[in-house]
């Protein structure tokens, strides 16, 4: 029987690989990624399922699914040239991915599917730090968290719960770690960026609030407060919190092992044991 052995929340800031290359292994970002990597390794995963929001690089405005899953033997990325990141070939598990999609559709989630796709920094940057050998297969599940209308936080949480049930019905032994990739408050290239910079954190109070609710394991309050207007107020990538909320759905919420914010970036690193 397959099982979800843990869950991780991570950022995917595209300039982190070049920053860590420049500042070395003792800089804050390198240490924080090591901290989540140690957690991940202790969970001994055979498979990673990653909830991710693409930045119009995997999908585009010609065809933009609200939910989608990658069903392929392998996929490549990043496709958007973040500095200091090679283009990796990432293994996947199309059999498990197709099984998850089937379970989701039968549960009322009309999840789109792609059998040939590339991914951007939002999938690859965390993997670049955490599994640079790309030895663990990854199934990406895409949540449309940037371009309104956004799916509701409740819907994303329930999708996570459906993914958990699907994993638990997979007949073979498989240790699955679920990751949520994204920021809580961040504006990228939009009007609310900081002077001279390409990004900014429009709603630091929301980052503090999200971290507090995560720490308390109060997922239901988080879901209630993560309305579309709140997510959009938190920046044009504020909806990436939905990836974390979907991830929480796979473990039924609960208290984390840790939540460590990087306030000036509007995001955090966190880990939960499987429920």
């Amino acid at each position: 029987m397959a099982e979800i052995v843990g869950a991780l929340g991570v950022p995917h800031t595209p300039f982190f690989p070049s920053l860590v290359e420049r500042e070395g292994p003792e800089c804050e970002t390198a240490k924080l990624f090591r901290k989540v990597t140690v957690e991940m390794e202790s969970m001994r995963p055979d498979l990673i399922v990653m909830f991710d929001t693409d930045h119009l690089n995997t999908f585009f405005l010609d065809n933009l699914p609200v939910f989608a899953i990658g069903v392929a033997d392998t996929f490549k990325g990043p496709n958007d040239e973040p500095r200091s990141v090679p283009v990796y070939t990432i293994k996947s598990r199309p059999d498990v991915a197709a099984h998850i999609r089937g379970a989701a559709v039968h549960a009322g989630f009309d999840v789109a599917m792609s059998q040939q796709f590339t991914v951007d920094h939002s999938v690859v940057v965390p993997l670049h730090f955490m599994t640079p050998k790309m030895h663990i297969p990854v199934i990406p599940i895409f949540v449309s968290g940037h371009i309104p209308p956004l799916p509701s936080a409740r819907r994303c949480y329930e999708l996570g719960a459906v993914v958990r049930k699907a994993v638990e019905r997979w007949p073979d032994k498989l240790r699955v770690v679920v990751m949520g990739s994204g920021s809580f408050s961040l504006e990228v290239f939009g009007p609310r960026i900081a002077p001279g910079k390409s990004d900014g954190v429009p709603d630091p109070a929301w980052v503090t609030r999200v971290c507090k609710l995560l720490e308390q394991g109060d997922t239901q309050t988080l879901i209630q407060e993560a309305t579309e207007s709140q997510l959009l107020r938190a920046g044009n990538v504020g909806g990436e919190l939905l990836d974390w909320i979907a991830m929480l759905g796979t473990i039924g919420g609960g208290r984390p092992n840790f939540v460590t914010p990087q306030m000036e970036q509007g995001h955090a690193y966190a880990a939960w044991n499987g429920g």
């Binding site: 119009l56 290239f189 009007p191 960026i193």
Partner: protein, 86 residues
């Protein structure tokens, strides 16, 4: 819906390195092939990202104009201009 064409060509800046080089050396010629309104073409050539944003151009895609420094844009100049659209 021709703002789709603006969004599309912004992403082509990332994907099509020949187009990127053409936009860096002679943006007016590079854009001649694109199906744009006069207003869109003018805003692009002027690096007027606040107007492009108001027309509905996606911010991440428009960011490639600054990242690859086309149409006279640099990151500080982009930041200064897009912030006026707030």
């Amino acid at each position: 819906m021709s703002v789709f064409a603006v969004n599309y060509l912004c992403r082509e800046l990332l994907r099509d390195h020949a187009f990127r080089a053409a936009m860096k050396s002679d943006p007016a010629s590079a854009l001649a092939k694109c199906d744009l309104t006069a207003e869109e073409r003018e805003a692009l050539l002027a690096g007027d990202v606040a107007s492009l944003y108001r027309m509905g151009t996606n911010a991440f895609l428009m960011g490639y104009l600054a990242r690859f420094e086309v149409c006279g844009l640099t990151m500080p100049l982009y930041s200064e201009r897009i912030r006026t659209a707030a």
